[in-house]
């Protein structure tokens, strides 16, 4: 059989599909059917592709099981073993019933993800319409290298919406304004409320406890702004205040943050000193009394402000990184067990070791082994830093200057020695010069501006779609090179057909349409070029392949 490594859960013989006898296999991840006497499957569906199964009603002559796929296609199996047909079918049905839900989640997630991507990205959606709906390529091919993120758990930038962080100053953004009659107006936006909730979960809890059954939303926020909780530099917290509990919770949170201690031993001030002097020794500084009893009101208010800033910043920081934080924590934990087991004779927490290594590292003293990158070579870094500066009139040159510089350039040219290892081929150079000379392709007086004006917007839009779709197809095509597996061989051939089909069904009609509208500019020349390049590449590859085979 095709793949023996798979676990086969159920085998049902004498199952007909498309009027052919065969055997049905239910495997760990897919259902498959192969015709009698052949050792390969002609039907194979991963469970995740199956939307649902249907069975023929009891009492019907044919005992059947139908699988409906997410794509809308369906496959019907006919259980033909006269004596056990019903039993066979039910066994298969039962097993599928157990298996499908397990894969459904994954499939649904994938589908949802695809759906979401299409909704969020109109360009992608258009591309999907152009390529898949018009059947230039199959849906599978379309998603093949787009959905990498969903399957590998490595989110591609566009299918993971970046979460917006919290401004550190969101409380300050609520500028109170006097409303003219002895009151204050606070401007609250949904963003600010969101920020408050994310930073101070205690407030969110109060909110969900009290709104709307005890307080209206407005009352809630009014109280919030009146509370000492908001004006934290005021000291006494009234017991009436519904937010006094929040303050206590914050206090607790801060305390637990502090007692948790720090992970990086290099910033742990508690264990900094190897040996503090024994009691009674040392030049004594008047030790600050930490008890609140003999602190003035002003002092304790000041320290309340300081505490508040630290807490606020810590909370904002935590709210911003809450999502990504967990996995790294786990990672550091697992690595910690690794480290300990490896050198148990010399016990040192790995994080500490890492931090120490980091601290003593001189990266520039070591040979670089990072890949070489091309650095921007700036002739005038000032202009890069400040942007172009308009020429001052006095910087304009006199005609004498111009003559001088022309002769200087002539001289330079006379002495010019080409760096032969780094030059373009002469044809490429000529074509580049031609393209950049007046009248050349890139220097036509009909600039982009005028194309904009000459070509109606709908045509422009259509052209854009064509470009995107063609680009996508070509991307698929070129990604097959170098063709070194049978799969790629198959794909590249298919892609070439796809390209041709696209040219026929999409590009041709568009060209005709453009001609009909008597637009003189050759809008599709470049597209055609791209197709031709692909074809010739394909041709070369094919001839080589033939030669190798013969």
């Amino acid at each position: 059989m095709a793949s023996l490594s798979e676990e086969v859960l159920l085998v049902v013989k004498k199952v007909r599909q498309r009027k052919q006898d065969g055997t049905l296999y239910l495997m760990a991840e897919r259902i498959a059917w192969g015709p009698e006497g052949k050792d390969r499957f002609t039907v194979s569906h991963p469970y995740s592709d199956i939307r649902c199964q249907k069975i023929s009603p009891d009492g019907k002559a044919k005992i059947q099981l139908q699988l409906v796929l997410h794509t809308g296609d369906s496959t019907t199996f006919h259980f033909a073993n006269e004596s056990t047909a019903l039993k066979d079918r039910d066994a298969a049905k039962e097993l599928l019933q157990q298996l499908l839900p397990k894969f459904k989640k994954k499939a649904n997630k994938e589908l949802e993800e695809k759906n979401r991507m299409l909704q969020e990205d109109p360009v992608l959606f258009q591309l999907y319409k152009d390529l898949v709906v018009s059947q230039v390529i199959s849906a599978e091919e379309f998603w093949a290298n787009r959905l990498g993120g969903v399957n590998n758990g490595e989110p591609a930038p566009y299918n993971n919406k970046q979460e917006v962080g919290i401004s550190g100053a969101f409380l300050a953004d609520i500028r109170p304004q006097t409303d003219g009659c002895n009151g204050l107006r606070y401007n609250l936006t949904a963003d600010i409320i969101e920020s408050i909730f994310r930073t101070y979960p205690a407030v969110k809890q109060k909110y969900s406890e009290n709104v709307p059954h005890n307080l209206t939303e407005k009352e809630f926020w009014t109280r919030f702004f009146q509370s000492h909780y908001f004006h934290r530099d005021r000291i006494n917290t009234g017991s009436q205040d519904i937010f006094s509990e929040c303050a206590k919770q914050d206090e607790k949170g801060l305390k637990s943050l502090v007692t948790q201690g720090v992970k990086n031993p290099l910033v742990d001030l508690l264990s900094l000193e190897d040996k503090t002097l024994d009691e009674g020794y040392g030049i004594s500084k008047a030790l600050p009394s930490t008890s609140n009893a003999n602190k003035s009101v002003k002092e304790s208010s000041n320290s309340a402000i300081i505490k508040r800033f630290n807490h606020h910043s810590a909370m904002v920081l935590a709210a911003g990184s809450r999502k990504g934080d967990l996995p790294t924590d786990q990672a550091s934990e697992t690595s910690s067990t690794d480290g300990n087991s490896r050198d148990s004779d010399f016990f040192q927490p790995p994080l500490k070791k890492v931090k120490l290594q980091e601290a003593i590292e001189y990266e520039d003293l070591q040979r670089e082994n990072t890949p070489k990158t091309v650095a921007l070579n700036l002739k005038k870094s000032d202009r890069y830093a400040h942007g172009p500066v308009p020429l001052q009139s006095q910087q304009y040159t006199t005609s004498q200057d111009i003559i001088n510089s022309v002769s200087y350039i002539q001289q330079e040219m006379a002495n010019y020695k080409p760096n032969l290892t780094r030059v373009l081929s002469s044809t490429a150079a000529t074509s580049a010069i031609a393209a950049l000379s007046p009248g050349g392709v890139l220097m036509q007086s009909v600039g982009q501006q005028s194309i904009n004006q000459m070509v109606p917007t709908d045509i422009q839009g259509e052209l854009k779609h064509l470009y995107i779709a063609a680009g996508e197809l070509l991307r698929h095509f070129w990604s097959c090179f170098p063709v070194n597996t049978p799969f790629l061989e198959e794909k590249v051939t298919k892609m070439k057909t796809n390209l041709e089909r696209f040219q026929m069904t999409k590009l041709r009609p568009f060209q005709e349409k453009v001609q009909r509208q008597y637009l003189s500019t050759n809008l599709t020349g470049h597209l055609e070029d791209m197709f031709q390049t692909a074809y010739s590449k394909f041709h070369i590859w094919q001839t080589r392949r033939m030669m190798r085979k013969t």
């Binding site: 801060l254 900094l272 002097l277």
Partner: protein, 655 residues
């Protein structure tokens, strides 16, 4: 790779080397060759530690008879651990290069828990531990007493070494100390009684030993076996313990009398300051205690505790403290001052008398170290002005050098901001520091900088109280709110755990790109007036010179942390118009000073912001190893070229 430092083969565990590392090693080798002491300044981030280790280890291997041991002292636990890590790296490199398993024994003491490792210390080739193990006589006597004379001692991060010395020799006595001491004395008395009944012979044996005197210790010192203990003065060694305190009972009685006297002295209404001789005269007048038995007090107590076989010495810390005080006050007629205060400054209504016995002369504690060990090297990123350290520590160095940081691009930008945009002078001097306009201008400076500087800013204040006040008024003026729009704010508190948390969060915010500001306090030790007078009279250092030196070394310490290495970059903003004066900025380390030009003096906030913007944009350009090579980073071939060697020696000789 391997280096040739004036004929010494040095293994250096990196592929490249900074020119200043080469110069540093050269200077260090000359110090060792001369068997003398050295003062070396080299910026942090230029690989000072690895240069030191590489050279001294190489020296030890080449001349095992001349240098038997390296004693490496650093200040904090993380620093000690870093040194150990670098040493490990070096040893791995040796193993790899030479192919032989190293028989070097290195030992690090980074916690009091693993004390009492006497034999290991004696046999280790390298010992890494905290300053206190060498400078605090109480610990040095236990740990470092028997270290060989032919050792090289390195004090890294030594910019505050004088304060460590002073701290280790100073004593404070409160009523609580005296009460606990009273209990100790009672316990001693009871124990003596018990022993007398059961084992009187033991006490007689002790008496006999005391008549013999401390001759044994004296022999040891004269034959140079031990590191001297400043609490055990020479005179004590030559004489027998005076008869008045020779028997155990007499000694306990003597302690009681001394204790009563101290209790009486603590009953004061106003601040009293006196010198050691004045104190001795007073104690003789009042309770007839002579100078001589006082001097023997510490040693006599140790002997008694040994005789009584008291296991837990920690319980007797109070009586030990008092007897140490007795010995010190009677031994040193100079270099100490006694101040008795009836209450704390902040709480004048609560009586809490304290007797401060303050050491003013750091050379007392470090003297045995300089005398005993062949080479002592004092080094740090900031030791300027270099010549003041030999003066206050009273030693004669054979080498003194300050190395600058060779840079392929100017990656540090010191700016002196002297005015606000409103032209009001910016200064934290006492007269104007509470000025509304000054506080606002400081706030504006921080606010504007928070908008320009990527990632992190640390702002240092002169004291905690001052920072608290400024934070409160910035809060009222809405400045902090505006800063929050750019950066998160973390503030140091008086609680170490809370501050650690803030520090870690600050780092996290800088690393993840969020950006943060840390408001912190530059912890200067306040210098007592008496010390200034002492410095003037004893070492001819004028009060103002010392204060400036003290202030500038703290400033240098603060800004010196801005860059971690040559690939890093940082702004250093001195926000006080006083820094613009040449007598002040002239005391900054050379590697900072040489980047201060006339264009960076007495700037307004706006000007500073413009310069910062320009600097930061330049720093944002890619910086690669190739850019450094041949200038601030050398390959072995480059280092060996005649031209480069000349250039390096030229640079080094600018000092």
């Amino acid at each position: 790779f391997r280096l040739n430092i004036e004929g010494l083969l040095v293994y250096f565990p990196y592929d490249y080397i900074y020119p200043e590392q080469y110069s540093y090693m050269l200077e260090l080798k000359r110090t060792l060759d001369a068997k003398g002491h050295g003062v070396l300044e080299m910026p942090s981030g230029t690989g000072k530690t690895i240069s030191l280790l590489s050279l001294i280890v190489a020296y030890q291997r080449a001349f095992p008879l001349d240098v038997t041991k390296l004693i490496y002292c650093s200040r904090t636990v993380p620093e000690i651990e870093k040194v150990v890590e670098e040493l490990r790296k070096l040893m791995e490199f040796y193993a790899k290069e030479t192919g032989e398993v190293n028989n070097f024994l290195a030992l690090s003491l980074s916690s009091r828990k693993n004390l009492c490792i006497h034999p290991e210390i004696i046999h280790a080739n390298i010992v890494v531990y905290s300053y206190h193990y060498l400078l605090d006589p109480k610990i040095a006597d236990l740990v470092s007493k028997e270290l060989a004379k032919k050792s090289v001692v390195v004090f890294d991060e030594a910019h505050n070494i004088d304060n460590v010395c002073i701290d280790s020799m100073s004593v404070n006595i409160t009523r609580r100390t005296l009460d606990r001491c009273q209990n100790n004395v009672d316990t001693l008395q009871n124990t003596i009684h018990k022993i007398k009944e059961t084992d009187a012979a033991k006490l007689r044996e002790e008496y006999r030993r005391l008549v013999e005197g401390l001759k044994e210790a004296n022999v040891a010192r004269e034959t140079d076996i031990y590191l001297a203990n400043p609490v055990l003065p020479d005179e004590v060694l030559q004489e027998a313990v005076p008869g008045s305190i020779r028997t155990a009972e007499h000694f306990v009685g003597f302690l009681r009398r001394f204790l009563e006297y101290l209790k009486a002295r603590l009953r004061v209404q106003h601040v009293v300051q006196e010198s050691a001789p004045q104190f001795l005269k007073d104690i003789f007048d009042k309770v007839c205690i002579d100078r001589k038995p006082l001097r023997f007090c510490a040693e006599r107590l140790q002997s008694l505790l040994r005789t009584l076989e008291i296991a837990d010495i920690a319980d007797f810390s109070a009586v030990t403290l008092i007897s140490n005080f007795a010995t010190l006050v009677s031994t040193y007629s100079q270099g100490f001052t006694i101040i008795i205060e009836p209450f704390e400054d902040r709480t004048p209504t609560i009586a809490n008398p304290v007797l401060h016995f303050s050491c003013m002369d750091p050379s007392i504690a470090i003297k045995p170290v300089f005398q005993r060990f062949q080479s002592v090297v004092i080094t740090s990123g900031t030791l300027s002005p270099l010549d003041i350290y030999p003066r206050i520590l009273d030693f004669r160095p054979v080498t003194m050098a300050s190395f600058t940081m060779t840079l392929a691009r100017t990656c540090l930008c010191p700016l002196i901001v002297g005015r606000g945009n409103d032209q009001v002078a910016l200064s934290s001097k006492f007269e104007t520091r509470e000025d509304f306009a000054v506080i606002r201008n400081y706030g504006n400076l921080l606010l504007e900088m928070s908008a320009v500087v990527p990632d992190g800013i640390v702002a240092f204040f002169t004291s905690y109280v001052y920072m608290e006040n400024i934070v409160a008024s910035w809060y009222e003026q809405g400045i902090l709110e505006n800063i929050q729009k750019n950066k998160l704010i973390f503030i140091e508190t008086q609680d170490a755990a809370e501050t650690s948390m803030a520090l870690e969060k600050y780092q996290e915010a800088c690393e993840n790109g969020r950006g943060a500001i840390l408001l912190s306090v530059a912890r200067g030790k306040f210098t007592i007036l008496a010390r200034l007078e002492y410095l003037r009279d004893q070492f001819q250092i004028r009060e103002n010179d010392f204060l400036t030196f003290d202030a500038m070394r703290h400033a240098a310490q603060c800004v010196g942390r801005a860059i971690r290495g040559k690939t890093d970059y940082g702004l250093m903003i001195f926000a006080d118009k006083r820094y613009a004066r040449s007598d002040k900025r002239g005391k900054l380390p050379r590697w900072i000073q040489e980047h201060i030009n006339d264009g960076s003096l007495n700037l307004t906030v706006d000007e500073a912001v413009q310069l910062s913007k320009h600097f930061l944009r330049q720093m944002a350009q890619p910086f690669r190893q190739e850019d450094q090579l041949g200038l601030s980073l050398l390959t072995l071939e480059q280092l060996q070229s005649e031209e480069m060697l000349q250039k390096i020696s030229q640079m080094a000789h600018q000092t």
